[in-house]
Amino acid sequence: MNIGIILYTLLLKPLELLFEVIYYNADRLLKNPGWAIVVLSLVMNLLALPLYRRADKLQDEERETTEKLKAGVSHIKKTFRGNERFYMLQTYYRQNGYKPVYALRAVIPLLLEIPFFIAAYRFLSGLESIKHVQLGPIADLGAPDALMTIGDAHVNILPILMTVVNIYSGKIYSEKHSLKEKLQLYVTAAVFLVLLYRSPSALTFYWLLNNLFSLLKNIYDKKLKPGRVKALKSKNTAVEKDAKSYELIFHATGLFLTVLTGMLIPGNVIVSSVSEFVEVDLPHSPGVYIWMTLLLSAGFFLIWFGIYFLLASHNGKRIMALAAFILAVVGTVDYMAFNLRQGTLSELLQFDRTPVYSPKDHVINSVVIIILMILCVLIFVRSKKTVRLLLLAGVLSVSILGIKNVIKIGHDYKMMKPAIEKANRTPTLSFSRTGKNVVVLMMDAMISRYVPYMITDRPELKEMFDGFTFYPNTVSFGPCTNFGSPGLYGGYEYTPGEMNERDTELLVDKHNEALKVMPVIFSENDYKVTVCDPTYAGYDDIPDLSIYDAYPGIDAYITMGKFGQSSLGYERLDELRNRNFFMYGLFKLSPSVLQLSLYDDGNYCSTRDFGVKDGELSPIGQVMETLSVSKGVNYNFMKQYSVMQSLPGITEGTDDDTDRFFMMSNSLPHNPMLVREPEYEPAYEVDNTEYDRSHHIKYKEDGTSKDFYDENNYPRYHVNMASMLKLGAWFDKLRECGVWDNTRIIIVSDHAWRVGDVGEMVKYYGFEVDRNTPRNKDEADFSVLNCTLMVKDFDAKGFTADDSFMTNADTPALAFRDLIQDPVNPFTGKNIDDTYKQNNRLELFMGRNYSVYTNNGYKFEPDHWFSVHDNIFDPDNWEYLGFY
């Protein structure tokens, strides 16, 4: 963090952000970028006006003082020489209460105006959404206006108009000035014309508006109100004492809001899951986000608010101090007490579900705010001392809590760092051409029900997946990764029920054990073992690879986010977080009626997240206009997609006949978003309207069809399809390397998704069995447990389906089959086979707390349990076991 960034964040960024939010909302309301620019210009000029006024007044005062002292000064200059002259002048100034440095006072408000101009310019010139936008006769706001054509040449009218206004305005302004000053204005106007002539019309339009504003200002100042009354300086000591008190209250409130928004709120978000905010190949502490947010908050609440406070009149100061106090109290109560129904926050500060407020919520919130405001006014009027004490207590407590967070984040990051550094290696996946290769791919949330449709949708998949047997009748032991994946990795000893049985051991230890079962057994049988992204190893989002430290034969890697993401992507991710943590803070402090506008579907009024910069895809969020049209891409999707896309590049065949075992997880199917059809590849702008018109209904080979065109299914179908195609491309690479036939591949998912009608696995119970069922909590949608299982054995041919009853806990047995004789779990000593499901009642856990950061005791938090046997598509085979 260099001084430039600090200054930028303190001085410019708050203004840029303010302009962005103003422009964004103006555009949203007026649905016209041109009018939004008008609003922006107006607001910018109104904001800069007090500064201009102050500068004007100070310059008048300065002019008056120098005029008053002129005779004396020139006498001294005439009479004395050398040092004596200096001493005489110094004393003369002193006696007249003047300091030469006062000449600077008039400059300061002017200099303070410059950030407004720079910020507005920077914002507008970086605004992508004005490109190719028409405004009246201007064809493209992103290009020079070219409103007139003379012969072959285009003439830009806006800059000329701007200059005309500029000159006229200058003429009025400099009416009583010397010819030299006048000339200076006209020359400046001409220079601007040359410099700005080729600027995009959005900018020249904006400048034209600024100049019009300046013209009006000058007409008012010089023509309508030439003899302005000078404000009298108040020397009343009671007033001065009051002013001190307001000053203290205002600045203390500024400090409180700064620490609350800049430190405590972002800290509270990060501290709940530090690793979510750490990128493997961008290793900086998430604490950085807090410092940047703190700077931005300080820029807002301390610097800019402070500047306006300084410029305010006595009365203005009183009102501002009271308003700030109310803001602090209401904000704190909003943050502390109205936090409900906002769901879980992602690392992009987006909720998993958009917060919903009922009219009742708004009424309650508004009533509370009104009561608080009345209380604040009463306290403020009655006892400033109480206000000061409250603020002192507030500043102290938010600071202590904030610093506590920062320390905790720093500590967590430090603990994580070795793992991150270790993980920061790129694997080479080498497969033996002569030995045996076994691959287990855990595709998080891959939906089995889609497979038959996908195969028909893109027939080449059948060739790519040649040799695979698809097991549609497969069930997982839980609807989320923490419940569904241990069994997949470790077999039946690691189903939620079995893990709960071992209730003297921590879940994380049992989970880690499951992740080791296959790698350790293969390794002990002289296989060369490579593991990538072992799911939740160490119960952390960034897998803790040290669980394999004791096994030199196991090579472990983290690939998530390692490929394809240019540094630009991460810079923008940082930029997004630095911006949105502050916005998130404001969102949390604001009344409920404002919250949704500020949250803006997780976009936080940003105009930038759709921006294509140098042809790169933005990793930040996708907004769907319809189910066929979208802008932007999902950050997590890209992170996973880039890994899948990179697999062929890091894969090689080798003549070394050592057998290989490769285990990997990938969450591509877990990150729904729209991709471009029919390629099913991500694109910045997606418009599948044409294609979807004839393709939204998907078919199976037997001709049965389903309409997938709904919010729940369509984006998921897209990402499942993208996953299949990327897997297929990798399989092609394996074929090319000559390792296809001697490789056994198991594609398995830890769970699926509640796909509703598409799943046809919904069962009504008449009491609440699954709070996550979208339609009715009394229904259980078992499609979420219908996980994917596809197995390609050595030398297998064709793409076939097998309706055998399977579970994803069969995976280890499938992997070992015919290769490892009587495999035994090295940790428990028990045999690993697939007989469990025949001999035991399967206990399936419909748990809801998917967080490994909170559901991490000795047993999983209680929830509903079910059982199923044989055909999982027959509702009668499902049985409710109870809540435990």
């Binding site: 200096f86 001493y87 101009f117 720079i118 010139s125 400048w207």
Partner: protein, 412 residues
């Protein structure tokens, strides 16, 4: 495009900014100047000196020539048995030779070294004749409670260079008109009223005492002794009449003593050297540079001077006539410039002497004899004494009384 946003600003603001930046430029120049002045003060010995414990009363003399002012006061302190510290910037200050018990004397270095010491002094009361406290290098020390100025000439207090007594807490004066002048300046400059104490003129008292004591030792003289005591500077006699006047006086057969202002030896050294060379062989011309002007004033029968304060010493103490040169007094550098009124000096001069100008310079002999016989001048001198020499004979006592009073008050 990169620079556009730095350049772009609406015309009104742009013009204001431009004007303001010019202001910034001059401010920067001013600060460089300030820094330079400070540095040059430091380089010329003005380094900060750590002062010791707080002294109750300090007398500061920036030059030994003011010993005539301080001597009667020191004697008074000594006789009353009050301890005071006399700090001088002259190593050969006559004070050093005095046999005092209670007046502790200290040479505190010359020039800026002395000033630096004074700037960090810790004292209850400081008495000084040095004008322009807190204007030039000599600043008010935070460790000093009260600064008292005592005039070293019996005429206008506004003949100091600008801001002469502005930053003193008390001024000791010999005439009401001086007090009025100070009050007028205070009003003009919106300064707080300082204490004005009319104590008289201790140094005139002392001269008077000596003159009275020496009356009986009258020495025989053949010729009239003319003392030419010009002030310095362009409007002084030396610059304006110089040689011509000396020639006339020498030819007239007077015994001529020329006593240039001490500053002339510095500022007008070339003129002075030329004159001294020219008249080196002239028997009835002598040059006088005594620190104490008593003897020379006593010896002279008539004084020719300009607006120098010595006129009043001569006329008031020795009660002899004076001839004052008609010089264009340029008030510009002085406090009197700011007061729109005639100086007391110029008002009183016609009453105590005759004016010498270009027209009567050739008849200077007649002028001298006219002066020596004019009885009206005696009345004029009485009037001047009344104006500017209050409490005759009580100056030192009243000064010490006042300082004691202030020291007690500040010491509380």
């Amino acid at each position: 495009m990169g620079l556009n946003y730095l350049l772009y600003i609406d015309p009104g603001t742009g013009s204001m900014l431009f004007a303001a930046l010019m202001g910034v430029f001059s401010v920067v120049l001013y600060f460089f100047r300030e820094a330079w002045v400070k540095i040059s003060f430091m380089l010329s010995g003005g380094r900060k000196v750590q002062s010791g414990e707080k002294l109750p009363v300090v007398i500061f003399s920036d030059d030994k020539r003011y010993w005539n002012v301080f001597e009667p006061i020191c004697d008074e302190f000594e006789s009353r048995g009050i301890d005071v510290h006399y700090m001088t910037a002259s190593p050969d200050d006559p004070a050093m030779e005095k046999d005092y018990v209670h007046v502790k004397r200290e040479f505190i270095g010359k020039g800026n070294k002395a000033v630096a010491r004074m700037n960090t002094l810790k004292a209850g009361v400081v008495l000084a004749t040095t004008p322009n406290l807190d204007v030039f290098q000599w600043k008010r020390s935070k460790g000093v409670d009260h600064y008292v100025h005592i005039a070293h000439a019996a005429d206008d207090i506004t003949k100091y260079r600008m801001f002469g007594t502005d930053y003193y807490d008390s001024v000791l004066l010999g005439g009401k008109y001086q007090g009025e002048q100070i009050r007028k300046l205070e009003k003009l400059r919106k300064l707080p009223k300082k204490n004005i104490e009319y104590v008289g003129m201790p140094y005139l008292d002392r001269m008077k005492e000596r003159a009275d004591a020496g009356k009986n030792t009258h020495e025989d003289k053949n010729a009239v002794t003319v003392l030419l005591a010009p002030s310095w500077g362009e409007s002084g006699i030396l610059s304006r009449y110089g040689e011509k006047l000396i020639d006339i006086l020498a030819e007239a057969g007077y015994e001529l003593i020329i006593r240039p202002h001490p500053q002339s030896f510095i500022s007008e050294k070339e003129i002075l050297d030329a004159l001294m060379n020219k008249y080196a062989g002239t028997p009835n011309i002598s040059w006088n540079r005594d620190n104490d002007n008593y003897e020379v004033l006593k010896k002279a029968d008539i004084l020719i001077s300009d607006f120098s304060g010595v006129i009043f010493d001569f006329a008031l103490v020795f009660d002899k006539p004076v001839i004052y040169a008609d010089t264009d007094f340029d008030k510009s550098p002085y406090d009197c410039y700011w007061l729109n009124e005639e100086l007391w000096t110029f008002k009183i001069l016609p009453y105590i002497g005759k004016k010498l100008d270009a027209s009567n310079m050739n008849d200077i002999k007649a002028l001298i004899s006219e002066c020596m016989q004019d009885k009206k001048l005696q009345a004029g001198r009485d009037r001047a004494r009344k104006d500017t020499w209050m409490h005759e004979g009580e100056g030192a006592g009243r000064t010490v009384d006042y300082i004691e009073k202030i020291a007690m008050k500040e010491g509380k």
